[in-house]
């Protein structure tokens, strides 16, 4: 890769006060025609383009982004990475991603700040205890590291948790995946963008798709705010806006788009060195390298594209956070935001061909897509290049809603949706 980042390039650029670093990716105008076009310049879309170029030798491709890359859900999530899913198909998919995460900084020559600090999921009632224990067993059968911790071990692993049995939802134990953790979310988009650009992929920002042109059941191209672009293969990775693009092609998807909120506190010294998730009370917390607490809330229970979300959802989450971590009672929240997540009826994603030739969808990641970014890109690239799914995403086809062969992770995936 040209302009390789290393200790030597750092020293060399220090002599010129870091004013001569080259742009990490270009800003080209779209060509008239591409071999394939990816719609959506988030982590999943950029990863798809990267693997299409790297593993499938497709260099004449473009990524279209209506805003700026990584400005959608890639920059709005709570950066949690884990693979402790219940069902075999999900375990295969998410652990494939986790294995790529483990070497991604080296592969991209870009520090994505991947930190395997562990993810702990708490149990607050007897049913939680049964479900979470069952999940650790299922995980281990699938080769995924998972252990059950009793209340005392939870406290040892994360000492600020309130384990009093007198609170409304007492901590009865939890599961721990030590290989899980976090990564710097926008660095993931930037790293993939730089890697794809170096292999000749055109990353076109501020370019919104307005229509999909079909000739019978074969796609012919896209109408965009930068003119018509001809292509025979379109991969749509538009997250919350997937249905909007699908409707342009006359296709309906089994999705509902809802706002999901997150918030960060003022920065403080290191206080929590892991990720703790609690399904029953719906409160997720970790601490960023800047020192902010990163808190994930739930979705609003109605369709909306407003990227804000309701106050009562945040209030509910913070109540739960305060009961579990009384030490945070005087923290001030700094920022709150919402992203639009596309939720499938079975809370599993769709990485699939459609009945329109040359039109592929990667969507339905709902509230938990960030963790899958590299695996999702890899498998979607395989699906687009070969016009056939990889065995790891075969179960995540669109046809499962017709056949009934759902991957029902609702409530099984260690989080509520």
């Amino acid at each position: 890769m040209k302009n390789k980042y290393s200790i030597f390039s750092l020293i060399k650029n220090a002599f010129s006060q870091h004013e001569n670093w080259k742009q990490a990716w270009g800003n080209p105008e779209p060509r008239k025609e591409y071999e394939a076009v990816i719609v959506g310049g988030g982590g999943h879309g950029l990863a798809t383009a990267y693997y299409l170029a790297k593993k499938h030798n497709m260099k004449n491709i473009a990524v279209l982004e209506k805003g700026w890359i990584g400005g959608g859900n890639t920059g709005r999530n709570t950066t949690i990475i884990r693979s402790n899913y219940l069902w075999d198909a999900s375990a295969g998919l998410y652990d494939h991603a986790l294995k790529i995460w483990e070497n991604l900084s080296q592969e991209l020559n870009y520090n994505i700040m991947f930190s395997q600090r562990g993810v702990m999921n708490l149990a607050h009632n007897l049913q939680d205890v049964r479900d979470l224990k069952r999940r650790t067993h299922a995980n281990r059968l699938n080769g995924i590291d998972a252990v059950w911790l009793d209340t005392k071990q939870v406290k040892e692993f994360c000492p600020i948790i309130n384990i009093s049995q007198d609170i409304r939802y007492p901590v009865l134990g939890g599961t721990l995946q030590r290989r899980a953790g976090t990564a710097r979310h926008d660095a993931v988009a930037w790293g993939y963008a730089r890697g794809a650009d170096a292999m000749g992929v055109d990353i076109i920002q501020n370019c919104e798709v307005k229509g999909i042109k079909r000739n019978g059941d074969q796609v012919e191209g896209l109408d965009t705010t930068k003119g018509f672009i001809k292509t025979k293969k379109i991969g749509v990775v538009a997250a919350g806006h997937s249905s909007v693009i699908a409707n342009m092609a006359g296709l309906k998807l089994p999705l509902e788009s809802k706002p999901l909120q997150a918030l960060v506190s003022e920065p403080v010294k290191p206080i929590i060195d892991t990720v703790v998730m609690s399904n029953a009370v719906h409160a997720y917390v970790s601490q960023s390298d800047k020192g902010e607490l990163v808190i994930g809330a739930g979705t609003d229970a109605y369709i909306s594209y407003t990227q804000r979300g309701s106050h009562d959802v945040v209030e509910g989450t913070l109540k739960a956070i305060l009961e579990l971590y009384p030490i945070f009672s005087r923290m001030k929240m700094l920022r709150q935001w919402g992203g639009i997540v596309d939720i499938c009826p079975d809370a599993s994603p769709i990485i699939s061909k459609t009945n329109i030739k040359g039109l592929y969808f990667n969507c339905g990641w709902g509230t938990g897509g960030f963790k899958a970014t590299p695996g999702s890109g890899d498998l979607f690239a395989h699906t687009i290049a070969n016009d056939e799914p990889h065995k790891l995403n075969a179960a995540f086809n669109l046809n499962r809603f017709v056949s009934g062969d759902l991957v029902d992770e609702h409530g099984a995936a260690a989080v509520a949706h």
């Binding site: 909007v244 409707n247 309906k252 999705l255 509902e256 369709i303 909306s304 594209y305 809603f401 017709v402």
Partner: protein, 91 residues
């Protein structure tokens, strides 16, 4: 979060209501004769519109009655509220 004008109770906070999704999806008259594709269409496939959408709501923490609503999902502005069985307004 917004305020909804329940046709039975008047204006209340949205948090008192639950959303039942897309409205006017007609239950199949002859379920036994439906193909798998038609079942999928009825059960799962949704328009999920960004813009003006017709949807069902339930006043879950109030009168517990169902009604219909026309709302713009791009800005959460409510255009109309009408009772079940009433003809949808033209927006």
């Amino acid at each position: 979060m917004f305020v909804i004008n329940c046709p039975y109770c008047g204006e209340r906070d949205q948090s008192e209501f639950s959303c039942g999704g897309e409205a006017h999806i007609v239950r199949p008259k002859q379920p036994t004769e439906l193909s798998d594709d038609e079942w999928a269409e009825y059960l799962f496939m949704r328009k999920n519109i960004k813009g003006v959408q017709f949807e069902r709501w339930n006043h879950a923490h109030g009168c517990r009655k169902w009604f219909n609503m026309v709302r713009d999902t791009s800005n959460d502005k409510i255009h109309a509220v009408y009772k079940m069985g009433e003809k949808p307004p033209v927006i």
